[in-house]
Structure formats: structure tokens, C-alpha cells
Symmetry: C2
């Protein structure tokens, strides 16, 4: 073989783009040559993890010479007690992103249909495309994902998976538990509901249907990245029937969990008082974002998450201009990818000092956007 | 759909076992109901990471609310300077295990041939099986992997990948750089050498061929898990031609890296003095393991790693009995999976106090094994 022979990628891999679902804020900062003053774009939890979790991770740093427990036994046992489901119904993984990849790999082969909403979570789509699945999309019903339309399309296409985020990202909207349960009850034969509940801790009490691990029609995804403030630790988990949970062991990176992160998540889960504190702070931040939007003649959408979609009142081009102008003023925000949701910009809940910066930048950003640059 | 319908796994996934390449020591401790006194089985670096890396991770714990940089920009830049290759030739991932999974996914489809040595790294085999690849194995030449036989089998089978660990795990043996370069130079057309150099920092100077990122025939894997003492942080990296490195972006979990781990690896890399200290300590530990083996009538194999394969002088059943007797005496060790290498047990380098426990337990363990229980 010569030094210049190209590796033989699989036909599927050769056809995939080397795409990135999201450009990280650090990459944007490097391109700008300047740091952001307010980091409000990635739905991170700037209120941070529990101080007890931070202290636990600090103590665990010296133990990083040991591999993490591949079974995440202690964390799964604690999650079991927290949720009232057996440990065998829980799989811990490298964030919901990592777990979604494993699930898609287990279930989706070339040409298999998968249903989601146009403009819903791009990383799920990335995994489906990455395993050769065929994405079928339905449009939002206003600012909400449309459970009935998702089920109908799943039936029409014989979809193996149908994705619903509840609450929704990027719009912050939500359905109540009876609506989601009705969706589960009407799923076509052979379709698994991928119920992404990354933001559920911020949502009203009646948002999540009861956990029912005997129900093989649904798999739930939760995370320590949002309400628990540990996005950088990469700890998510799935709850489902034990048979499906066991199947993750066929493909997952068994020694993939960071030991420090496992310890941090365990401590974060134990500090429900801090979680309550964060949820309260986030609710106050949502209200403040709404007030700032209103003061600038914009309308904030109701949100059950740690971010608010702000309707800029025109098309996607205008919202993009507002976003660019905010970024130019050192305020990192993001926006939906798809029309008509892309008339909005998406602001993550921040501390008062972060929202002060947003409040100060928004009028000028709107003026700049209206001036066309 | 009814609550009892089984999810439709892909045919490949349905056929895979829910296997675990390795059972972790924590799982063994839970099964035993007792902790190990000496943790010498997983080739972890009990001398630990650089104190500067620990301090950096402690400081980074409070920043865990932020996602890690998906480009691992700073770490890749530092690795670039360290190795004298451009950042575009480096991919950082969730340990070598995670990166091997991505590589196999990119290149191996159902039925594609992959060549390795019988008894080499099981996690690589796990990935190959997991993507439907066909494993072709060659036997070790004595205590060494056999580069010429690997190349011959690759040519015979049209293999897409051929795996070589240098130094080798589980035997600790190694080939010098000219031998490895000769293997590269004789690879058949279309075969990529997967050169796993997880232990190379412990090896003699002339073990690794020069890095040549223009050579598309080989991809190198390195890690912070072994000499840098950060197994629990999950940071590995690949070095290859930029075209192949870029392809990882097609399939990898872009936001999969722990932010604390990225910071720790960066600090560990900067502290080459600690690395030298660890390598010296490990060399002393290897010598001590050899002396303990000799004092018990066993022979230790030469090692270029942080572990020593100790030939127990009989068959795999006897070595297994010795291992079980050590485990019963609270000394965690492992052993090769395949004959004839499985006549050995594998002892990770430990601190003097760890090896004191091994030294104390071995005579009784041998007695117990010879007594048949």
C-alpha cells in the first residue's frame, strides 16, 4: 500500500457530511477574537450545580487515576430510589446525546423511517442520518410539537422511532401529561416513542406522565446537564423497560463515563434543595426575559424550560440580524433552525448580571437589525 | 401498539450479545461484599496524575455547568506542539475505547474483514463485532504480536483494518520502531493499521516510529489514561492524516467530552516532569514484580508497559486458580483471555505498599492453586 491511499470508509460514512450540530461558544469566541460577556445561548445552567456536587467533584479529582464504574451502580441505585423504578430500568450514559446515539444505533438501519418535528433537536437527526435512517418530519402546530401529527406520520411510514421533546427545545413549549400519555396510547405497532425530558425539572408538575417501565412503547431521557447544572460533566440517563435498557450493553462504551462526573451527579441528585433553588431562580429569569422583550416591543413565548424563545416579530432573516447584533455586543444567544420558528431568538436563563447585559444590548441590537446591519 | 410490544432492534443489534468486555473492580467488590486492598488489575496508574492536573480539575469543577469545547481546541493545540503535528491531524475523544468505536463505525460494515491477534485488546473486537465486521485472528509469536503474520492475514482477507498494540496488552511485550515501520511499509493496499500506543510513554525510546501524518496507512492512538494517570477522566486522542481525522466529525458525539477532563489533560500534558517521575516509579515497580515472581519460582516477562505478565508455569486453568486465590486475598489482578498467553497473570505496577500486599498474598495463592482450590 502506498502512503497516499485513502482509507476505505463504509458507503454510509463516505456519504455523511463532516457536520457539527452546534458550533460551541468557544469556537465563536476564537473566530471573533473576543470572549462573550454573557453566555446565554446553550441552555446551560449558569446558576451552577449544587455546591455539594462541586465539592464532591473536587474531592474526586484525585481519584481520576481509576476508571469509573462501568455499571454506574451507585448513581443508578440513587436514581432508582429517586424515581421509584428499579435500577435495571435505568441506563446512565455520556449525556442524552450519547444515549440517543446508542438508541438509534440499536434500532435504526439504512432506510428505516424515523419521525420528528421539523426544527426539533438537531443532534437526534444527526444520529439518525449517521446510521442511515430516513427522517420524516411534521411541522409544529404553532409553537408546539404536534403529537397527533407525529403519531399519524409514524403510522404512515412504519417508523421505528418517533421523537418528542417535552418540554420542547427550541420553543420552550410543553404538553401536559395527559396529552403525552394519549400520544403513547395511540402509537402505531412497532414505533417507540423517544421522549426527551431534558428540561422537565423546570416544567409544571403535570408535564411528565408517570414513569411506567412495563410500558415498552416509550423510552424517557433525563439529564444532569440542565436543572442540575452539570452540562460539562456529561451525565444523562434513560428510563425504559429493562429489556431495552439491557440492549444498550450491546453497543455502549462501557468504560465511557468520567469518574468525577459520576460522583458529581450522585451528589447533585442528593441536593434537591439546590434544585428547587435553581428552578426558582430560572423562573425569575424567564419572567425578566419576558419583561425585557416586552419593553422592546417583542413577545416572549411561555416556557417550561431554562430558556425563552422571543418572537422578534418578523421573519428568520430579521431574527438572525438581531442575533448577530447581540453576538456583536458580546451576548451569546442562539435561535431555531427552521421557519417559522426561526422568527424567534432563544435566550437562556441567566443571573441578574447576565440579563443586565442582555437588557442593555437588545435595544441597540434591534436598531441595528432594523437598519439592516 | 400495546404496552408489551418489543422494540424492533436492527438484525445486527438483535444478534449481538449484551456483553461486557471487562467486569470492573467495583462490580467484583460488590459481588464479593468486600473491597480490594490492592487495585492492580486494570492497568490504572496508581501513582496518579500530576498534582497540577488534580489542582486544575478541582478548579474546573465549579465550571462544570458549561459544556466542554466540542473542538477540544486548547488540548489539541497543546498536543500539536507536543508532538510536532498540526492540530488538524489530532482528534480528541472519550478515551481510546471511544475513538476505536468511531473508527470502526467509519470503516467497517457487515462482513468486512478486520485482522487482530488472538488474545489482543477485547474492546477493539467488541467494536468490530458491534458493527458487523468479521474478525480474523492470528496467533502471537511467543509473547509478541506477530506483525508479519498480521500483514499476511490482512492481505489474504482484504482487511480494512489491522490492529496492533505496541507495546502489547496483555503481555507487555513490544516491537522496536523499525519493525513497526516495516509492518506499515508492507501493508496491503486498502488496509489501515490501527496502532494502539496506549502504553508507549512507558516504553524504550525507539518503540514508536516517527509520527508521519502524510502517511495515510496508519492511525495512532494515545491516551491520558495510563502514563498520565487519568483513566477516570476519559481522554484519548488519535493522530492521522487530516482527511481521516476530519471524518470523525461525521459520527462522533461532538459534545461528548467532559470539561473537567479536558482541563485536566491539558495540565497533565504540561507537566512532563511528573510524567518522567511516574515512568521511573513504574519501572521500579516492574522490577519489584519481577523479583517477587522470581522469589516464588515464577518468571516475569519483560514489559514496556505499566504492568507485568507473570508466567505461572502451567496452563490457563492453573493461572486462573492463582488469580482467583489472589482475588480471594483482596488483590485485584487480571489475566489474558486466550491460550497460551493465559498461562500468565497480569499485575499492574503499584506503589510499594500495593506490591507489599501482592508479595504477601502470592505464596499462599500459589499454595492454594497447587492444592486445587
Amino acid at each position: 500500500m502506498t502512503k497516499t491511499s485513502a482509507p476505505r470508509l463504509t458507503p454510509l460514512a463516505a456519504a455523511l457530511p463532516a457536520s457539527v450540530p452546534f458550533v460551541g461558544p468557544e469556537a465563536q469566541e476564537r473566530a471573533r477574537g473576543r470572549e462573550f460577556a454573557a453566555r446565554l445561548g446553550a441552555n446551560e445552567n449558569i446558576f451552577g450545580p449544587s455546591p455539594a456536587a462541586i465539592e464532591t467533584m473536587r474531592e474526586a479529582a484525585a481519584e481520576a487515576w481509576m476508571y469509573g464504574d462501568p455499571e454506574s451502580h451507585d448513581l443508578r441505585r440513587a436514581l432508582s430510589a429517586h424515581h421509584g423504578v428499579p435500577p435495571e430500568a435505568i441506563m446512565v450514559g455520556e449525556g442524552i446525546d450519547g444515549l440517543l446515539g446508542y438508541l438509534v444505533r440499536l434500532m435504526v438501519g439504512p432506510g428505516d423511517a424515523v419521525v420528528t418535528s421539523a426544527g426539533a433537536y438537531p443532534t437526534f437527526n444527526y444520529h439518525v442520518a449517521g446510521f442511515g435512517g430516513r427522517l420524516e418530519t411534521v411541522v409544529y402546530a404553532g409553537n408546539h410539537e404536534d403529537p397527533a401529527a407525529l403519531v399519524t406520520r409514524a403510522a404512515e411510514t412504519g417508523a421505528k422511532l418517533v421523537y418528542l421533546a417535552n418540554p420542547d427545545n427550541p420553543m420552550g413549549s410543553w404538553h401536559d401529561a395527559p396529552r403525552v400519555q394519549a400520544m403513547i396510547n395511540t402509537l402505531p405497532e412497532g414505533t417507540l416513542l423517544v421522549l426527551d425530558e431534558a428540561y422537565v425539572e423546570f416544567a409544571p408538575e403535570d408535564t411528565a406522565p408517570p414513569l411506567d417501565i412495563d410500558d415498552r412503547r416509550v423510552i424517557r431521557f433525563r439529564t444532569f446537564s440542565k436543572a442540575y447544572g452539570l452540562a460539562g460533566a456529561r451525565v444523562g440517563y434513560a428510563i425504559a423497560h429493562p429489556d431495552l435498557i439491557l440492549a444498550f450493553n450491546k453497543v455502549r462504551n462501557h468504560f465511557g463515563m468520567c469518574r468525577i462526573s459520576q460522583a458529581g451527579a450522585l451528589a447533585a441528585l442528593a441536593d434537591q434543595g439546590w434544585l428547587d433553588h435553581v428552578v426558582t431562580q430560572v423562573a425569575a429569569a424567564r419572567d425578566r426575559i419576558g419583561a425585557i422583550a416586552q419593553a422592546n416591543g417583542l413577545s416572549a413565548l411561555p416556557s417550561a424550560t431554562n430558556f425563552v424563545a422571543v418572537d422578534c416579530g418578523a421573519d428568520g432573516g430579521f431574527a438572525r440580524a438581531v442575533l448577530d447584533a447581540l453576538v456583536a455586543r458580546d451576548v451569546f444567544v442562539r435561535m431555531p433552525f427552521v421557519a417559522p420558528q426561526d422568527r424567534c431568538i432563544r435566550i437562556s436563563a441567566g443571573r441578574p448580571q447576565d440579563l443586565d447585559l442582555f437588557e442593555a444590548a437588545l435595544p441597540d441590537a434591534l436598531t441595528a437589525a432594523r437598519a439592516g446591519g
